[in-house]
């Protein structure tokens, strides 16, 4: 099979432009998560960022990835996920993109929007309430996971939904400050 190489120039150019460290496309399983964490840890260990920041990156990563992987188990679009990390001068950005069913969109959008208008204190309160009241069987995972991401990031959740016929592409960008 012939493959021309211009695409390598294009993609590596984009990676440099956005300071991507790595990008993974495919199915996200617990095994993949472990490998991605391992690689990120090694990458972070070479960088100057503070431990607290590195742990936040780790945290946000796990929640994003496990949200996707849990979602995947009952999803026919399980193989269509992407996960990326960007790093620039001790600041990190965690990107994820995956396909979800249309009927899940509204509830997720509501959750994200509700969190985005909350203050830091309100987010902490919600976190505590979900921790106490939620049950692991009732899909507490996703809600608590998102609240945790918001809490750790300290920034507004940056998300987008693009409908494509019978499914929707959900993208999330989480910015982690370096202090």
């Amino acid at each position: 099979m012939e493959k021309e190489l211009g695409f390598v120039t294009e993609i590596s150019g984009k990676m440099r432009e956005h300071n991507f460290v790595f990008s993974y496309r495919g199915k996200i399983s617990q095994e993949t998560i472990k490998a991605l964490l391992n690689l990120t840890e090694k990458k972070l260990s070479t960088e100057v960022a503070e431990i607290a920041v590195k742990k936040k990156v780790f945290n946000v990563m796990v929640e994003c990835l496990q949200n996707i992987s849990k979602h995947n188990t009952k999803n026919k679009h399980a193989n269509e996920s992407i996960f990326m990390i960007g790093s620039y001068e001790g600041k990190y950005v965690v990107y994820s993109g995956n396909v979800i069913e249309n009927e899940k969109v509204q509830a997720l959008k509501n959750k994200l929007q509700a969190i985005n208008v909350m203050s830091k204190e309100e987010i902490s309160e919600l976190h505590k309430r979900l921790l106490v009241e939620g049950s692991l069987n009732e899909g507490i995972g996703a809600s608590l996971g998102i609240v945790d991401i918001a809490k750790k990031s300290g920034n507004k959740l940056d998300f987008s939904f693009v409908e494509e016929n019978d499914k929707t592409y959900f993208a999330l960008k989480t910015f982690i400050n370096n202090n």
């Binding site: 099979m1 390598v8 993609i11 496309r25 993949t32 690689l39 090694k42 940056d158 960008k173």
Partner: protein, 184 residues
């Protein structure tokens, strides 16, 4: 990157069959991490053990080539890119790194020589190089390339893009078939 561009980048990876990209400096630890990452990916696929080993070997050679280049590069040229691609029939191992103009001719010559050989020719070339090359001769980047070529069913692909002055970007792609019959 804007959150709304994630999907586009996702599609760009997909249309080029890429499953994994890494950009940055390559330390020994990171190389190990990248290898482990791909290894687990291979495990999930029903790829034959022999093929897995082949892919692993090619990745090691490519990553070591990157490390070698990196060691001899100036600071602003230390980063490199490593990519893995996959379609139904093949795996693709891709590297991209900066290189000084004065090194291009030798690499090009080696790669063209390798690409001119058939399976038996590669075997002979590998034997000759191993006999003649001293270890210090850059682990004979040549030997690494021949090894990759022997494990890869198709011709090696490469390209040199001018960055600025005498600095070029060297892109290298090798293809490994998922089926043994074509190769061994």
């Amino acid at each position: 990157m804007e959150v709304t561009s994630i999907r586009q980048f996702h599609q760009l990876m997909e249309s080029n069959k890429l499953i994994m990209l890494y950009e940055g400096e390559f330390t020994q630890e990171i190389t190990k991490g990248v290898l482990a990452m791909t290894e687990r990916n291979l495990d999930k696929d029903s790829v034959e053990a022999g093929i897995k080993k082949k892919i692993y070997n090619v990745m090691v050679e490519v990553l070591q080539n990157i490390c070698k280049h990196q060691a001899s590069s100036s600071d602003d040229a230390k980063t490199a890119v490593f990519m893995i691609g996959e379609d139904e029939e093949h795996f693709f191992v891709i590297s991209g790194n900066t290189i000084q103009q004065n090194k291009i001719a030798a690499i090009e010559e080696k790669l063209n020589l390798i690409n001119s050989k058939d399976k038996d020719g590669l075997k002979l070339l590998f034997r000759d190089l191993r006999l003649s090359a001293t270890i210090s001769e850059a682990g004979g980047a040549g030997l690494g390339f021949v090894d990759i070529a022997r494990k890869s069913e198709s011709k090696l692909k490469f390209q040199f893009d001018l960055i600025k002055d005498d600095l070029y970007y060297f892109i290298f792609l090798s293809t490994i078939s998922k089926h043994t019959s074509e190769n061994n």
